[in-house]
Symmetry: C2
């Protein structure tokens, strides 16, 4: 396994690094970024927050715009940001090159339909392949937290809920909570997973929470001036499912905030502190 270091920047006494590596799950080269806080060393490994980004993003958006390094450096938490889909000339894209499906829109699932099932296995990549590589390579513990934004909030919720033994706590900003019932999700699931709508439920946070109470604590922040709130996100449905089975879910709604990274930056400190409370 080759791991190519593309970029290294000192940041808040720690290090931001960008890497490229061949991915077996995705059958292509992938890029990811890691922030290593100053505390991280072989003698004192640190837990890892996996951050899953939204539609059109790469590993770069969160690292550059969220302002998360400051508090991660203070708390001693590493952050890993994968890309949002497989990449490369061989990877099929939406015929219309739309932003909400295909490249940049992997939806953190394992596609079952041709031609998507050759590359689009972001679920396996995020849950298994990438953490194995991270834990082998960097001074980190096996403790994982998970968070994300929009499509990545959907990824954080579904991956966290399905793997309670792997993720200590879950947070999300403006997540797609009920994708089987909303346009972005339906378009993507139709292509990646096909006609059997029962199979879609395995990647829907509302459906997963209706089936089983979450064993982890969950924090969700949602801006009330978010243009996508009403049509695509549906956090109130997730909060209702959580209340139904006494899942420990906090949904905070913020007047005036939109879907942008300015919203994420405004509250990322709370998310890192929330995860830090659940550190082993």
């Amino acid at each position: 396994m080759t791991l190519e270091n593309l970029l290294t920047n000192k940041s808040f006494g720690g290090w931001h690094k960008q890497y490229r590596h061949p991915s077996q799950s995705l059958n292509c080269d992938m890029r990811f970024a890691i922030f290593l806080p100053p505390q991280a060393s072989e003698k004192s490994p640190v837990p890892v927050l996996y951050w899953l980004s939204g539609l059109t993003c790469t590993d770069e958006n969160f690292m550059q715009k969220a302002g998360a390094h400051r508090i991660a450096a203070e708390l001693g938490i590493a952050i890993v940001a994968p890309d949002t889909s497989p990449r490369g000339d061989d990877v099929p894209d939406d015929a219309d090159r739309s932003y909400d499906f295909g490249l940049g829109a992997g939806f953190y699932l394992n596609a079952t339909q041709s031609p998507w099932n050759t590359h689009y296995h972001m679920y396996d990549y995020v849950v298994s392949e990438l953490p194995a590589l991270i834990e082998k390579t960097f001074p980190v513990t096996k403790q994982r937290f998970i968070s994300g934004h929009s499509m990545g909030g959907h990824g954080a919720l579904t991956i966290g809920l399905k793997n309670p033994d792997l993720y200590s706590s879950i947070t999300a900003f403006s997540p797609i909570c009920n994708p089987t019932q909303t346009p972005w999700g339906q378009k993507a699931f139709q292509h990646y997973l096909g006609d059997n709508r029962e199979s879609w439920k395995d990647y829907d946070a509302c459906e997963l929470l209706k089936k089983d109470k979450a064993s982890q604590a969950i924090l969700i922040d949602q801006g009330l001036s978010d243009d996508f709130l009403e049509k695509e996100l549906k956090p109130e449905r997730l909060a209702a499912a959580a209340q139904e089975n006494s899942t420990n879910l906090t949904l905070r709604q913020h007047e005036g905030y939109d879907h942008s990274y300015y919203f994420i930056a405004s509250f990322i400190e709370d998310h890192l502190c929330f995860h830090n409370k659940h550190r082993g």
Copy 2:
């Protein structure tokens, strides 16, 4: 005078806003961004930090990447980020479209040479036209601080030094300190200002400081792993000139940090606090 609001985002309880307006100094439409902290109101106007960006940047880079809103919101300081050059189809660019001259590289001076002198008057825009517009439009006081990065550090230093009554304090990240003697500066000054090298000195922080002791306090941060340090920046020459005439200049040098926004984000809090100490 029309002022078109292009973007509004709530951020840390305040507001990030992007505007377009016709500029008389620059003879074209210009875009700028402003962060208004939650404290700013007609009854309690706040001082303004003018942030000047580096080569290739626009009004967006600092607002998105510096993580400055958090501390500006805490201290009650507005931030204004202009673009780095005149813009538009009519504005002449470098024939080679290089990154270090022409569009995105106005060097915060008033060009005297054709064809540049029709539009390239960033000095007048930043010192006079933009602040007049800001002070007329937003709930701010007439107190100004100035800061910037690289070419914008050069802008902050030269504009601040030449206008001690207008700017209470000056800071810079990785500034071009002696552009009459270094390649980026020489290339730009040759085109914008012509052959008379005496006229260049009016836009060189080292030359200005040799001529007159600064009346304001100055803080400069410089990364020691900055690829441009040796060839283009020369902060040690500015520190020597300051020592010579007892100017209150602090040059901090940081092991491992480079020329990127990760460096700026790591220390921007110190700069805002430095300016805040000089608030009236």
